[in-house]
């Protein structure tokens, strides 16, 4: 049983319960019965007929009407060859909405196919009925949807709803919805008011309507005849535009920071294995990849054994990915890399070989194709700020996570002796040995740590993009750039470089385009290194020689 099915089941169950509790007050509505003939076009009508049926269902004040629409939207409405319409309740159980009885889903019943047009119609239809829902949240969402619809036929309904509405948020939303319809009113004062109201929303969605008022027709006459209304529309447009540019700016900043966190997570492990230990670790990308595949495996495990906890598989994947990649890293260190210290360029060759092997290994085990890793529900979607800027939860989670990992690394490196020992070893392996550092063990631990961090990065990356054998290659160059730009061996430098690269990229992209932005960034890196030949935080003085 898949995740969707479970969720749907619960949604369904809650809905049914709701219906039952509402049943007494909806008694009056019971009279208007759901008619099989009304539903028939859903099964075999053409699009027009289906649209009509949906619209009728939307106006039907029957609780099951909404249920039918919802089922249709989520592809849970079935039809038998005989034209009987059934709502799938989950687990092969179905309900006949006409009779209201439950039965087993007949084997020959088929899900009713809908397309985007129908889907849109369903949302619209549901919105109208939802305007009168008990739940203010539902009402609010419905009102918001109606703001954009511009369907004049709803104006009476909105007015009706507005009259009853007590919740201030919903009222405000309804007023805007009303205003957007008022724009079509013949009364200039109403139109002016509407334009002002729309301007106050700061919502870019109203821009075209307002701009439309200022447009001229072929004869040179304004669409909006009234001077004062036009002035109001102009002011409203300005206001919206100002707001939009604020949003854009804030958006770029957020996108920059979020891209920066991704780069940071991709690079942090390398900051240890390469920055601190001096291993030109070409297999770094593959360690990221392993982290991502561990996430995938955890998801499979959860689906199999703990479907109720599926939303938390990512959390569980963190320690597992850390341990798994750390183990791989330590194994590599002991078998290959430990013989190559002091010959950094040879590490390039060997780790390149390792990366080929790891990549092909994953292809053999999991196939060359990507595997599916889905965002847990708490990481899907986003929060809307400033009325238009969507900060998606997975990005937010990754920013927070990146900061946590940086903190963790910082703690380990600066508040345990490990960091000191690692730095001492890379600077003078022999002397570190002489003062009593068990170099072999420290190397192994440090490489394991770097690899483990890469694994954590892999978990994060799995939430944003592909999980496939090539995952690592895409991040390899970027990771090296970040580490080098920050100054090899400088944690703070790595953080700043990642954030800097991310932000510059995102501020460049809107006007240069993604391709030129990327090229520009690379050129900037080349130029920057001219100014700071040892990276951002380069130690200076005698000690560097």
């Amino acid at each position: 049983m898949s995740l969707t099915a479970i969720l749907n089941f619960w949604r369904r169950a809650v809905l049914v319960m709701l219906m039952l509790t509402l049943a007494p007050c909806a008694l009056a509505a019971e009279t208007a019965n759901i008619d099989a003939a009304l539903l028939a076009p859903l099964a075999d009508g053409d699009t027009g007929a289906k649209l009509q049926a949906i619209s009728q269902l939307g106006q039907l004040p029957h609780p099951r009407a909404a249920q039918i629409l919802e089922a249709l939207a989520s592809e849970n409405l079935y039809a038998t060859p005989g034209g009987r319409i059934l709502i799938l309740l989950g687990d092969k159980r179905a309900m006949d909405p006409v009779a209201g009885e439950q039965l087993d889903l007949p084997a020959d019943a088929d899900s009713i196919v809908i397309n985007n047009r129908l889907r849109r119609a369903i949302t619209g239809a549901l919105a109208v009925s939802q305007l009168f829902s008990e739940n203010p949240q539902v009402r609010l969402a419905a009102a918001r949807r109606l703001q954009q619809s511009g369907d004049a036929s709803t104006v009476a309904l909105i007015a009706q709803a507005l009259a009853k509405e007590t919740n201030p948020d919903v009222r405000a939303a309804l007023e805007i919805a009303h205003a957007s319809l008022e724009l079509k009113s013949p009364d200039p004062a109403l139109r002016k008011h509407a334009a002002e109201a729309l301007g106050n929303t700061n919502n870019g969605a109203f821009r075209p309507i307002l701009a439309g008022m200022l447009a001229r027709d072929a004869g040179g006459a304004y669409t909006e005849p009234d001077e004062a209304v036009r002035a109001a529309a102009t002011a409203a447009l300005k206001r919206i535009d100002r707001h939009l540019s604020t949003i854009e700016w804030a958006g770029n900043l957020f996108y920059g920071v979020s891209l920066g966190s991704v780069l940071l997570l991709a690079a942090l492990g390398l900051a240890i294995t390469f920055g601190l230990m001096g291993v030109i670790n070409m297999a770094h990308g593959e360690l990221l990849m392993i982290g991502a595949y561990v996430t995938y495996l955890m998801q499979l495990l959860f689906r199999q054994f703990a479907p109720a906890w599926i939303d938390w598989y990512v959390i569980a994947a963190l320690p597992m990915a850390f341990l798994a990649t750390a183990a791989v890293g330590m194994a590599l260190e002991r078998t290959v890399i430990q013989w190559l210290y002091g010959r950094p360029l040879e590490t390039l060759l060997a780790t390149w070989g390792i990366s080929l092997i790891l990549m092909q290994g994953v292809r053999t085990i999991f196939g060359a194709q990507n595997v599916e890793v889905s965002n847990p529900s708490w990481m899907s979607g986003g929060v809307t700020l400033l009325g238009g800027l969507v900060l998606s939860y997975n990005r937010l989670a990754i920013i927070v996570f990146a900061l946590l990992v940086v903190f963790f690394v910082w703690l380990l490196l600066n508040h345990t002796r490990l960091g000191l020992f690692v730095r001492a070893i890379t600077q003078n392996r022999r002397m570190a040995d002489c003062v009593g550092v068990p170099t072999g063990r420290i190397d192994m631990l440090a490489f394991g740590l770097g690899s483990g961090i890469a694994g954590l990065g892999g978990v994060a990356l799995s939430q944003l993009g592909n999980v496939g054998p090539d995952l690592g290659r895409g991040y390899l160059v970027d990771s090296f750039m970040v580490v080098v730009l920050g100054g090899v061996g400088q944690l703070a430098g790595t953080v700043i470089a990642a954030m800097g690269l991310g932000s510059i990229n995102k501020f460049l992209e809107p006007w240069a385009g993604a391709v030129m932005a990327k090229i520009t960034i690379l050129v900037l890196i080349v130029l920057f290194v001219q100014k700071r030949p040892q990276g951002l935080f380069a130690p200076r003085g005698r000690s560097v020689e």
């Binding site: 000191l420 020992f421 730095r423 001492a424 022999r430 040995d433 002489c434 003062v435 009593g436 068990p438």
Partner: protein, 232 residues
């Protein structure tokens, strides 16, 4: 406490140490003398375990340590001041000194004991400076400090006075004397500064072309035999 028997060492084809034997007792200072390039540093490296020996044995407190890694020897209480200082250039002075205590458990290696700064006051003022930025002499002082904070039972010093100002050389001599007087530490001192060595040594060994050509106690150190092996 230290007993070296017939140690041979080769660099590729060249036979650098030829059957070197020496013994050092607790509370004594042994001076290792010899011209440039005779193998003094090589011998000390073999004792520390930085270089493997081809044959022979090195025993410390009666245990054969000739196959142990340097850090295992450090853990047994051997500290080393190498020729050329080998400061961790990009660690701060403080971190360099902390590294000296690497062989100790972490809990007892958090703080640096103040005594060391009495001997080398400059280091206290430069704790935050990077080791590599120090002047040559300061680095040498740091190297000695790093060895002493380990509270070793055997100190191996390879030309500790190189590049150090005269007044501090006197101080270092004082410290070595002090350590020797404590009686529980062995000191192996390789030194070109003859007067310094003579002043501190209880025993001496002269190397020439990788062989022990003369050995004896304090009283014999000024003898012609020794001088002959030290002049060009």
């Amino acid at each position: 406490m230290l007993d070296v028997q017939a140690v041979n060492q080769y660099y590729g084809g060249s036979h650098t140490l030829r059957g070197v034997s020496l013994a050092l007792k607790r509370g004594e200072c042994l001076a290792l003398l010899g011209r440039n390039g005779v193998g003094k540093t090589t011998l000390l490296k073999c004792l520390m375990g930085v270089l493997p020996i081809a044959s022979g044995s090195v025993r410390f407190d009666g245990v054969d340590i000739s196959r142990l890694a340097p850090h295992e020897r450090a853990a047994r209480g051997i500290a080393y001041v190498p020729q050329g200082r080998d400061i961790f250039a990009r660690l701060t002075v403080e971190e360099n000194i902390l590294m000296g205590m690497a062989a100790k458990p972490a809990a007892s290696a958090r703080r640096i004991k103040g005594e060391i700064f009495e001997l080398f006051p400059v280091l206290r003022t430069m704790l935050a400076r990077r080791g590599g930025d120090l002047s040559g002499g300061q680095q040498q002082q740091l190297a000695i400090a790093r060895a002493l904070v380990a509270e070793p039972r055997l100190v191996i010093l390879d030309e500790p006075t190189e590049g150090i100002q005269p007044s501090i050389i006197k101080d270092i001599a004082k410290v070595i004397r002090l350590l020797r007087e404590r009686g529980d530490i062995g000191i192996l001192l390789c030194e070109q500064y003859f007067d310094f060595a003579r002043e501190l040594a209880d025993q001496f060994v002269v190397l020439s072309r990788g062989e022990v050509v003369a050995a004896g106690d304090k009283s014999q150190i000024g003898g012609d035999d020794v001088r002959r092996h030290l002049s060009v």
